[in-house]
């Protein structure tokens, strides 16, 4: 390439850089700045308050519940999605009749729009007309419908189940692709040496796909932590904040009550909490590798 044409590289790369800067970094920096002001819709001249918004957030009882809810929600959904995804991938990796059809059917929850899935689950959980209660009553497990989404004791569990159903196909696809790359000669050799299925799984398959597991855990953690539509449609964070997580709280503050400064504060804190969750996981991975060494 001639020296005078090197500017062409910047011409081609510049739009991408500008888009990322405009749609990712500018809003992020804007959010951090907004959180330092007492910005609300009704306050046309926002006042710089520094960290006062964060002090207010950390002091509120709501905040502690939201952090707890977010951690429970994220950890539970990620674990269940990854376990369900992995086991369904193991199953689909076998030679089964109508394998192609089964693989397509497994993807259906993932393809369905998030709001549609949430509305379907809301209907299924309905205490009067829902499928789940009808099923449990017909099995004799209960004689009356349970208000799954109206009780603080069951609402989060109900949301976790719905979210697991919605998201596990993503993990299935990831793990299926990883399983298909596992060296079959090693598995054959292990089989010949007398290793059973569990032994082959833990000693050959899992070590070979551990990087994929790590990446998928991080991805599903980020996606789940920021998952808004399922909880918003099911419960809007209720009852009595039992299912309120960071995304629903941010939406409620920003669009429901026009309190943009506080919403921005919650947004910044949510990124820090998520970063902490991922850091803890990466540390655990690192110490696990160290122990094995």
């Amino acid at each position: 390439m001639l020296k005078q044409d090197r500017w062409l590289i910047w011409v081609f790369v510049a739009p991408g850089i500008l888009l990322v800067a405009a749609f990712m970094y500018y809003p992020m920096i804007g959010t951090i700045i907004e959180s330092l002001y007492s910005t609300s819709f009704i306050n046309p001249t926002p006042e710089f308050v520094g960290l006062a918004t964060y002090e207010k957030i950390f002091a509120s009882a709501d905040f502690r519940q939201i952090v707890l809810n977010s951690c429970v929600w994220t950890v539970a959904v990620v674990m269940l999605q990854n376990l369900s995804g992995f086991f369904s991938a193991l199953l689909l990796n076998q030679s089964l009749p109508a394998q192609g059809l089964m693989r397509a059917l497994v993807l259906l929850p993932w393809i369905m729009p998030g709001v549609v899935a949430a509305i379907l689950w809301r209907f299924m959980y309905d205490p009067q007309l829902g499928l789940i209660n009808s099923f449990l009553i017909s099995l004799g497990v209960t004689d009356q419908g349970v208000a799954w989404l109206a009780s603080g004791d069951t609402a989060m569990l109900a949301a976790i189940i719905a979210a697991t159903w919605k998201g596990f196909p993503f993990s299935t696809v990831v793990y299926l692709a990883a399983l298909q790359k596992v060296d079959h000669e090693q598995i054959e050799a292990a089989t010949i040496d007398g290793a059973g299925k569990l032994r082959r799984l833990f000693d050959i398959v899992l070590p070979e796909i551990k990087e994929v597991i790590a990446i998928n855990l991080i991805l599903t953690t980020i996606l789940t932590f920021n998952y808004f539509d399922m909880i918003w449609v099911l419960t809007r964070g209720g009852p009595q904040n039992a299912t309120h997580i960071f995304p629903t709280k941010i939406y409620e503050l920003g669009f429901g009550q026009f309190r943009f400064g506080e919403a921005a504060g919650y947004g910044v804190v949510s990124i820090l909490v998520l970063a902490l969750l991922i850091a803890l996981y990466v540390l655990a991975q690192g110490s696990g590798r160290g122990a094995r060494a």
Binding site: F41, I42, N43, P44, D126, P127, Q128, L129, Q144, G145, V146, A147, W148, L149, A150, S151, G152, A155, L234, T235, R236, G237, G238, P239, Q240, E252, F255, G256, Q257, F258, R259, F260
Partner: protein
């Protein structure tokens, strides 16, 4: 080659700009945003009215955007904050104070005075909701009242309940008890406490009907008063006769049960009537419920028309607002009840069962607090409702709500 490409791009852009500037001088395009809350085909009626307006005002073109109610607040707020507000829109009565405080909308006192637009042409509660800090910020467009008690005539006749008995607290509770048989999936009264404004307005109507208040005249919390707590106690006592899952149920959920014959009484404003008219249900309604000797007081709801300060077409916008709120037009461009009293009478006579009863309930309705912080108060009231139906004592739940209201800055 590169220089030619650059030159062509610049020239094309300039040509486009010139063309745009030339056509803008001829016609004003007004952007009007409204929301739809019923299945009435509102967008079509508004388009027809707009065509008549455009015929009378050839220099003004109106672009109508009808947005479903659940999305309206978010989209409007985003547009206003982003500097892309329409020229005219409806705003909920409960948003007027916030929009005025934010400096987003134009006061209309001078225009209203010059045009002879007066308070007595509109329902008092609706006119009051458009006034904030001594200025007029909008013109009332439509109204409704939460709540009317719609009842299933067939179920009432089957159980031998006197239809009018449910206008009193004692009567409603007795009827609800008689109508409830959970083993058969039958319930007396449709209570709901999900996170939505419908939860607040129904709860408020019971509080108002007992003489209670949400906020006192001095802005302090009225929810912990004896009258308010008594109303909350009463609502809590109805819970055994309501479908399970009150804390996550909405008025829409209760409507589904009412339509399928599982519910004896549902609480809805008059806008429920088009849905019931399309159903096969044998239904009727009374004007809410109050303790013996007291008159049921509903909670005002509705929308006002405002113009935005950012609009470069203030005169055209005002012209359009005047047109939409004229007695001969108002009724044909709303899906709630026209806020213009004359238009409302004609609208109700043509479209609603029991027009006289609806007018009476409208005339006695009370508004929600007109405060720039109303949305925060509303959120606290939702928490109050969820605490109440979650088993907390009414007095304790009200005290907690009042503490939260006092902390609002």
């Amino acid at each position: 080659m590169r220089k030619m490409l650059l030159a062509t791009t610049v020239l094309t852009g300039l040509a486009g700009l010139t063309t745009t500037e030339a056509s803008a001088a001829d016609t004003i395009t007004l952007k009007f945003w409204d929301n739809q809350q019923t299945e009435s085909g509102l967008s079509q009626y508004q388009q027809e009215a707009v065509k008549r307006f455009e015929a009378d005002n050839p220099d003004i073109k109106v672009e109508v955007t009808t947005i479903p109610y659940p999305e309206f607040q978010q989209r409007l707020l985003t547009a206003v904050r982003g500097g892309n507000a329409p020229d005219v829109s409806t705003v909920d009565q409960i948003w007027v104070a916030a929009f005025a405080e934010a400096g987003a909308i134009t006061p209309l006192d001078d225009q209203a005075k010059a045009a002879g637009v007066k308070a007595d042409a509109f329902f008092k509660g609706a006119w009051d909701s458009a006034n904030y800090k001594g200025k007029l910020w909008g013109i009332p467009f439509n109204v409704d009242v939460w709540q009317f008690s719609f009842f299933n005539n067939a179920l009432f006749k089957q159980t031998g309940i006197d239809l009018k008995s449910i206008t009193t607290w004692v009567g409603l509770k007795a009827a609800a008890q008689k109508l409830t048989d959970a083993s058969k999936g039958k319930y007396g009264v449709g209570l709901f406490a999900h996170k939505g404004e419908d939860t607040v307005v129904v709860m408020d109507s019971f509080i108002f009907s007992n003489g209670g208040k949400v906020l006192n005249d001095d802005g302090s919390c009225g929810l912990a008063s004896e009258a308010s707590v008594e109303a909350l106690d009463y609502l809590q006592s109805l819970a055994p006769f309501a479908p399970k899952g009150i804390a996550n149920a909405s008025s829409g959920d209760m409507r589904e049960l009412f339509l399928n014959g599982s519910l004896g009484v549902e609480f809805w404003p008059a806008l429920e009537q088009p849905t019931l008219q399309k159903s096969k249900l044998d239904w009727d309604f009374v004007d809410g419920t109050a303790p013996d000797g007291k008159k049921p007081i509903g909670t005002y709801g509705g929308w006002n028309l405002v113009t935005y300060k950012s609009s470069p077409h203030q005169d055209a916008a005002w012209k359009f607002i005047q047109y939409l709120t004229r007695p001969d037009v108002n009724g044909s461009v709303v899906d709630l009840i026209p806020a213009n009293v004359q238009a409302a009478k004609a609208f109700l006579a043509k479209n609603r069962k029991g027009p006289d009863r609806i007018m009476e309930h409208l005339n006695s309705a009370a508004p929600r607090p007109l405060s720039a912080h109303y949305l925060e108060v509303s959120d606290i009231e939702v928490t109050l409702a969820q605490d109440l139906f979650g088993g907390m004592k009414a007095a304790d739940a009200a005290k907690k709500a009042c503490e939260a209201i006092a902390a609002i800055k």
